[in-house]
Amino acid sequence: MNKSLHVLIMYILVHLGFIFFMYPGDIISSSEEGHWIPILIGCIVHLLVIWTYMKGMSYFPDRNIIQIYSEAGRIASVVFLGPVALYSVMVSIITIRAYSEVISIVFLSNTPLWSMMFFMLLISTYVASKGGEAIFRTGILIAVLFLPVVVFIFFSSFQNVDWRYVFPMSTKDFSFFAKRSFYESFFAFAGGFLFLGFVQPLFKYKSKHVLICAVFFIPFFLFSVYVPLLTFGQATASTFHFPYIVTMDSVHLNWLMFDRLTMFFLLSLVTFILLFVGLVLWMTVSISKRFIPIFKSYQLAALVIVIYSVCLIIPEWEIVQNLFWWNSILRFYVLIAVPISILIFGLRSKGKGARERA
C-alpha cells in the first residue's frame, strides 16, 4: 500500500478545510484587481516552504522533528519546538472559536457557542487520543465519506459564474504587500504543513508526491477566491465576511431535495477541520510529552481544558480577529524558521556523516 496516500489525503483535507473560509475574504480585501498575483505569491511561498521542510526532513529518515530538534540540543528545541507548540495551541483556539462562530452564524443560531465548542473539541480530542496512525487512517475514512460531497458542491458553485469578471487580469498595483489581510491570508498555508514533520516514523512518504499534490492543489486556492469574484464582482464580494459561503448560498440545483447546499459543504469542511484540530492536538501533546515527562496520560486532557477555557473567555468576533493578527508573528516565524532550520540541521548532519565516512 502506498503510504504517501495517507499523507496526501491529510494534506488535501487540511487545506480544503482552511481555504474556503477566511482565505477568500482576506485575498479579496487585500487587492482590488488581479487577485491571482497575491494568490500565486502565496502558493509559491507555500511550495518553497514545504519543499525546504521536506528536503530537510529527508536527511533524517525515520525521525520526526521532535527527535531532530532534541538531538540538536536543548537550545534548539526550546527555540524551535516552543514556538511550534505555542503556535499549535493558538491555531487550535482560533480554529475552534472561529469555526463555531461560523457555524452559529450560518445555521445553528439557537445553539449556544459553548456547547458547540465543547462538541467540536470533544471530537478532536477523541481523534487526538487515538494517536498518530489512527488520525491518518481516520483521514482516509473521512476523505472517502466527505470528499466527494465537497468536490461535487465545489463544482456546482460555478453555477452563477460570469467569466467577464475575470478582467482586468493585469495590475500594477502591488499595494497588497502593505495590507494586513494579505499577511493574514497565510493562515491557509501555515497551519497545515507542520504535520509533514510528524509523520516520519509512522508512515513513509515520498516528498515528490506531496509537492505534485500541492501543485495540483493551486486551482483550489485560485477558485476559492475567483468563484465569489466571478459571481458577484469585486465590489460586492469585498463586502462579505465569508465570500465563498455566500456564493454557495446562491447556488440552486433544481433536482436536489435540499435547499441549502452550503450546510453540507460547510459541515464536510468542518469535519476536515475537526480532524485537523485533532492532528494539531496530537502534535502539541507529543511535544509536551517530550519535555514534561510527568502525567503523560493527562496532558491531552489538560491541554484541551486550557484551550476550551480560552475559547470561552473570548467574547466576540473582533477579538478572534485580533488574535488572528497577533498570531501572524508566530505564524511567519513557524513558516520561515522551522523549515530553514530543519534544512540546515539536515545539511549539517549530512556533512558530519560524510566526514565520518571519509
Binding site: 458547540m116 462538541f119 487512517r137 481516520t138 482516509i140 475514512l141 431535495m257 441549502r260 453540507f264 469535519t271
Partner: protein, 443 residues
C-alpha cells in the same frame, strides 16, 4: 481385582453410562472400558475382533497387534480417564497389566453438513461449518487443498479440555501474527474457552470493544479465502463457525462469493452494501436533524409536507424515533427467539403496528415509518450478522448527537465513528486494511 481397574471403577463408576466389560480376544482375556453414550459398543467389539483375526496370520500376538493400533504405549490413570471422557476406548490386558487407548467406532452425535443458517449464499457453495471441529478442519482442507495449509491444535481449559485449532497458509501468513496468537494460547492453556468472550480474554483483547476482533463466518469458502489472503482461521470445538483473525472493515462489504458474478456486478453489489451501512448510520439521524434542528435545509415544499405529516405528534422527533427504533429492535429480537411456527405472528402483528396503526393514531409521522423501514432494510445488507449488530448500535449515537447539534451532530458522529474504527487494531493490524498481506510486502 487389579488396582487399575478398581481405581477406574471408583473414579468413573458413578456414571451409569460407564461400561467395563471382559472380552476374549483369541482366548486372551482383556477388559475394555469406555462411555457407552459416546461409543458404539457392539460395532466396536466386532470391528476389534475382525481386525485381530485378519492380522493374526502375520504371526503377531494379540498384544502386539493392539499396541500397534494405539498411539500411546503405556498410560497413567489420569490420562486414561481424560481419554474416556473424550470418547476413547481403553483396552486392559489382564495378564501383562498393560493398557492402551484405542479409537473406537463413535456414536454419531453430530449433525451432518448442512446449508448455512445465519448467512445466505447467492449462487455459491452451500455447505457450512458444523459443531465438530474435525469436520470443520476437513471442510477447510477441501476448500484449500494445498501443502501450505498448516493446522495446529491445542487443548485448553482445566475443568474440561476444549480443542482449539489454528489454520493458516504457511507462506502468505504474517509470522508475527501467528506467533502472537500461538503465544497467547500457550500462555493461557489453563483458561476455559466456552464462547467468544472467553477467547477474547485469552487473546488479550479489550472485552468492551463494539466491533468483534474476530470475523465469524459459517461459510467454508470465506474461511478458505481468508487463509489464502494470509489471515489466520481459528476453530473451536462445538462452535459452528470459523473465527478469522484479524477482522477487517472490508469484511462487512465483501464476500468471496461475489466473485462468482461478473466484475461490474460485484462492484455494484459491494457499493450497495456500503450505501446500506451509510444509510443505516445517517438516515435516522438525518430525520431528527431535519425535523427538529435544521428544517431550513430542505426545500420549502418538502419541509411543509414533513411538518404536515408530523402534525399532531405530541413529542419531539428524538423521542419519536427512539421509541419506534426500540419497537423495531424488539421485533427483530423476538423473531430470532420465537420458534419457526409462531414466527409469522410477529411479522404480522409488527407489520400492523409499524405500518398503519401507529400513524393512524397520530403517535408518529408517516415519514418516520418510511425512514425506519429503509433503515432496517439497509442494515441487513451488511455481510455477517455480527457486523450489522455493531452498526445498529452506532446508529443511536448519531441519532442522539443529531438531536442536539443537527446536521453538525451527524457529521461529528461520523467523525467519531471513523476515528473509532481507525483506532482499532488486532495484533498490530489495523481494522482498515483491505488486504493485510500487502502490508508485509510493504515493510
Amino acid at each position: 481385582m487389579v488396582p487399575f481397574l478398581q481405581e477406574m471403577k471408583s473414579r468413573l463408576g458413578s456414571n451409569d453410562d460407564f461400561f467395563i466389560q471382559r472380552v476374549f480376544l483369541l482366548d486372551k482375556p482383556v477388559v475394555i472400558m469406555g462411555l457407552s453414550t459416546l461409543i458404539d459398543v457392539v460395532n466396536t467389539k466386532s470391528a476389534l475382533l475382525e481386525y485381530i483375526e485378519q492380522s493374526f496370520p502375520s504371526g503377531k500376538t494379540v498384544e502386539e497387534v493392539i499396541k500397534a493400533m494405539s498411539t500411546t504405549p503405556h498410560i497413567e490413570i489420569n490420562e486414561a480417564i481424560s481419554a474416556i471422557t473424550k470418547g476413547k476406548l481403553i483396552i486392559y490386558f489382564e495378564v501383562t497389566k498393560q493398557r492402551v487407548i484405542v479409537d473406537p467406532i463413535m456414536k454419531l452425535l453430530n449433525r451432518s453438513i448442512e446449508s448455512p443458517t445465519n448467512e445466505n449464499v447467492f449462487q455459491g457453495s452451500m455447505s457450512s461449518f458444523t459443531e465438530d471441529i474435525d469436520t470443520n478442519i476437513g471442510i477447510a482442507r477441501k476448500e484449500f487443498n494445498s501443502r501450505r495449509l498448516v493446522v495446529k491444535s491445542y487443548y485448553t481449559g482445566s475443568l474440561q479440555k476444549k480443542r482449539l485449532s489454528l489454520l493458516y497458509d504457511e507462506e502468505r501468513v504474517d509470522r508475527k501474527l501467528v506467533n502472537q496468537v500461538i503465544d497467547r494460547i500457550e500462555n493461557n492453556q489453563d483458561k476455559e474457552i466456552n464462547h467468544i468472550q472467553n477467547l477474547t480474554k485469552v487473546m488479550g483483547f479489550n472485552s468492551m470493544e463494539l466491533i468483534p476482533k474476530f470475523n465469524t463466518t459459517e461459510l467454508p469458502q470465506e474461511a478458505a479465502n481468508s487463509i489464502r489472503k494470509g489471515r489466520v482461521v481459528l476453530f473451536i470445538d462445538r462452535i459452528p463457525f470459523a473465527l478469522v483473525l484479524p477482522s477487517l472493515l472490508w469484511d462487512m462489504f465483501a464476500l468471496e462469493n461475489d466473485k462468482n458474478l461478473p466484475k461490474p456486478i460485484m462492484i455494484s453489489l459491494r457499493l450497495l452494501r456500503v450505501v446500506g451501512v451509510l444509510a443505516t448510520l445517517i438516515m435516522p439521524g438525518l430525520y431528527v436533524a431535519l425535523v427538529s434542528v435544521n428544517p431550513e435545509v430542505l426545500r420549502i415544499e418538502l419541509a411543509l409536507s414533513i411538518a404536515q405529516s408530523r402534525d399532531g405528534v405530541p413529542y419531539p422527533a428524538l423521542i419519536e424515533i427512539i421509541m419506534m427504533l426500540v419497537v423495531l429492535e424488539l421485533v427483530i429480537e423476538a423473531s430470532i427467539r420465537l420458534p419457526r411456527s409462531i414466527g409469522p405472528t410477529i411479522t404480522m402483528v409488527g407489520g400492523i403496528i409499524l405500518g398503519q396503526a401507529v400513524v393512524a393514531a397520530q403517535l408518529v409521522s408517516n415519514l418516520l415509518i418510511i425512514i425506519l423501514a429503509a433503515t432496517t432494510i439497509a442494515n441487513s445488507t451488511v455481510v455477517g450478522v455480527q457486523n450489522s449488530l455493531s452498526i445498529r448500535l452506532f446508529k443511536y449515537l448519531i441519532v442522539v448527537l443529531a438531536s442536539i447539534y443537527g446536521v453538525l451532530g451527524i457529521l461529528g458522529g461520523m467523525v467519531l465513528v471513523s476515528a473509532y474504527l481507525a483506532g482499532l487494531t488486532t495484533f498490530g493490524v489495523s481494522y482498515l486494511y483491505i488486504n493485510p498481506a500487502e502490508r508485509r510486502r510493504d515493510s
